[in-house]
Amino acid sequence: MHTTELSPLETFGETEPTFPQTVDIPPHENVALSNQERSVFADLTAELSANPESPPRGVSMGKSTSATDVMTIRHS
């Protein structure tokens, strides 16, 4: 067997990746979020908050349907 999984405490060599250089990306050109959008969203979430729902136990909701998402296990 050629592979051994080590404990996370065990370290080998340097632990930080080394890059030739790093640069800061420029400040965001944020598509301005209007106050109206925020206000509408707050109202919508408040409405849903008022109707809490208990989750089913032990159930995963995820379902992949994308052609490019290769999640084959839950493909169906």
Binding site: M1, H2, T3, T4, E5, L6, P8, E10, T11, F12, G13, E14, P17, T18, F19, P20, T22, V23, D24, I25, P26, H28, E29, N30, V31, L33, E37, R38, V40, F41, A42, L44, T45, L48, S49, N51, P52, E53, S54, P55, P56, R57, G58, S60, M61, G62, K63, S64, T65, S66, A67, T68, D69, V70, M71, T72, I73, R74, H75, S76
Partner: protein, 542 residues
Amino acid sequence: MFLHISIDYPKLSVLKPEKLQLSETDSYFVVKNASKSIVATIKKRHHTPMTYCIQQDEQTVEFGYHTPKEGLGAEFLAITIKANGRITVKRDGKATLPLLYGLANGHLNISNQYETVTSSINRLHIREADIANILAPHHSLSPTLWNEIKWIKEYEQLIVADGQARIIPAQQRHWAINADLPESDPKEFIDRLDNALDVTLQTYTTDAPYGFELSGGLDSPILPLFLTRGAPHQTWHSNSIILAEPYRSAQLTKLQTLQAIAPNGYMHFVEPAGIRHQPLARIFTTQQQPQLFYPYSDIYLELAEDMACNLQAAGAKVVFNGAGGDDLFEHNDSLEDQLGIGPKGYIARSKSLAAFATPKLERLLGAVIPQKQQSILPKRSVSASTPCIQNNVYIERDIWPVSPLNNEDLFTYCQGLPYQFRKQKAILRLYYEAKKYPTQWYDKSLPNEDFGDYFNSSLLSENYQSLFSYFVQHSYLHDAGYIDTTILAELYRKALATSANQETTEVLFTMYLWLCTELNLHTAYKTGQWQGNFAEEYTSRQ
């Protein structure tokens, strides 16, 4: 090939290591020593994430790729090769580039291409455990079928020295389950998502033309819709897979809302009877000797290749998709459930075990399921559950796949949302509504595209019937006592005779996994790499 490293340790001089030499071609950085016992190549990429290769001295070369800014969410691959053959590979939490290594008889191969690594090994062996892991899969696992070949996954480090390999697992768990997280404030969602979209655009689009994979779901249109708020983008290129009815009309209705703003959309229509895009179509349509392939990855490879070719012709260097969207709103309330371990894991996985499994395989599954967490698994629960080997079809064409939803901060926040906000992605629908995006995109009465029907019709097509017929007669897994092909053939006949339903879908999916396994076994036997036996000595390691 994007990346390939080959080191032949028995040929390396330990006492006097040969110097490493860095050279360049138009497309590649090349690192090697005089005897070529060390050869490493990485493709040059001039757009984010850019590749680099630096010779520190005669004994050390560093290379890899990285996005412009370090920190959470940054992408990087950092490889250091020493003249004595010591190599360190470190990677990020996204692991966009598929990466495998194979080590046998002192010869190491690392590549993003599965075929490259498998073809480098003369003798392949199968772990019995992985037969169970493939036929009763769980998303926390990613067996390669072959004992000599392993993935280098998110946040892992690989260190190879003196012909011995070690994997250092992730140091902390990055993708928590609902029960572990404090409750999030739903009102923050709109700002958090907008910020994630903005950062993604700033990181990947400042220096490169880009395109989209655009389906009819809720996740993939997030970024295009976000961009519709600005000026029209004539340079967009989107690619969409259009399924047959009952999904086609809904998909077209949705996509038409973007056509006026992004006119360069290309639609790939798939038909149930069409062979070209069917899973494994390359097996049916080429006369070439089949190659080994990763059994979990290739369901829609043919479709992805078409989209990648289109985007390459359009000059795109980045493709945005919606991968990770399902993960954001997943509901997992126990680690056992998420990792498929312990008694709960056994119950869930034994249910998914193929109906044609024998008692021997059932016992094997019971033996391979761990009782407790073996190591930290940084993986997300849904779409990152298998290494994204399909990313290669883009990366090999110099197009980097990116999803704004593959975001650890956003994941943690969304997993803390109350259940009713995650159920059916309710909060995402509210986001669309608040943004006044076209209602077609979040209208629950329109069906989301579902590839299940297409998958079923493909597997019941004439081509597949021939494949099934052949491998039922020539099954290694049957001969070794893991499955019963008489039951399998009967189940397939039943699926052919009845219209597709939930039960049929599950059976067909496990049959597909069996078929992929047989195809790989037969190919490896023909090439002489596999001797036709299932070695029990490889069972013990988990």
